[in-house]
Subunit: 191 residues, 2 copies
Amino acid sequence: MGRWEPNARGRLEQAALELYAERGFENTTVAEIAARAGLTERTFFRHCADKREILFAGAGRLTELVVGAVAAAPPSASPIDVMAAALEEVGTMFEDRYDFARQRHAVIEASAELRERELIKMASLAAALAAAFRRRGVPATAAALTAEAGVAVFRIAFERWVAGSGEPDLAHLLRESMAELKAVTSGRSGP
Amino acid sequence: MGRWEPNARGRLEQAALELYAERGFENTTVAEIAARAGLTERTFFRHCADKREILFAGAGRLTELVVGAVAAAPPSASPIDVMAAALEEVGTMFEDRYDFARQRHAVIEASAELRERELIKMASLAAALAAAFRRRGVPATAAALTAEAGVAVFRIAFERWVAGSGEPDLAHLLRESMAELKAVTSGRSGP
DNA sequence: GCGCGCGATGTCAGTGACTGTCATCCACTA
DNA sequence: TAGTGGATGACAGTCACTGACATCGCGCGC
């Protein structure tokens, strides 16, 4: 792989995921990732803010998708219904990505530092969602709570998805988890 | 401050909070914190896993408190009511700590790295809560969702508390936010 | 075809977080 | 008083990350 091969960023992402999976995040140096991608350490940091960020390139797209869905929902819909509709789109976004999602999730779960980064991505997703709700006229606290609840539903459904094998699809688990949240918060759930 | 003064850990926590507040987390070196506490950098790392962790000594106590409250609730109570009761205790825990909580929160909000750490503490709190609910016989998904919802309520109420000045007390904001969550998830909230 | 500008890359030196190792110090006890 | 143990200091080393400057190759106008 010569100095000027195209798609340096993509090669770095691929190399990082491979190495993190092979020997763990902590036991991988940035120099090794860069070497596998045919680049130098310095170039890694030109493409990527830090060693963790390389795994989170897709976070931006997820945010765009849900925020767009919230903005596009009919003005009369209640926040929780809008949230549910947005999660529907998320379900389809991951449709063909089971293997990738699963490997990436395993890598992240294996490292406390990567879990931290994942959490801040989820938090920033929640913040973007809350802002989208406020733009629809939802009061701040309700907007924040709806967003947080939506993200919690997403996370829990996602975990169940990658924990299983083949399993019902993500969209189905998302609907189930949302229903469960409604049941739980309304007190319709045994001790 | 000589080499063998007592309470090295406490001096380090104090020095770190001061320096992070004075010049920001990123512009403070561990050597400076240690020097202000009358210790060396090496000793800092003997008391504290890393530069962030020094601000999160109290996280363990918060977890113990809520988990204990969940365990102590009457067996017949519904998960969401148990969660609400646990949050009551949290409200009293912070009663006399407004100034400290506010300064610490400001320091954390000012740094992305510290926000990451805060998030993982909240996540581990949610995990401990979910486990406590499961020990009460609550099914896994409902337990996780109740825990996540409870932590979301805590965070949002806490933010409103430190954002204000003097304000209603935390316990009051916790009750309000919990009510709002119930309203939102039941669809009783305008667009 | 030719020089030229510009963006992507390489090189190198430096800072600071964190760790392993070993020496040193003080408090407590026999 | 000697000895033991836990806390600390001193020092060297690794690695994430950054700034400064040199270098490369592609596309541009001519």
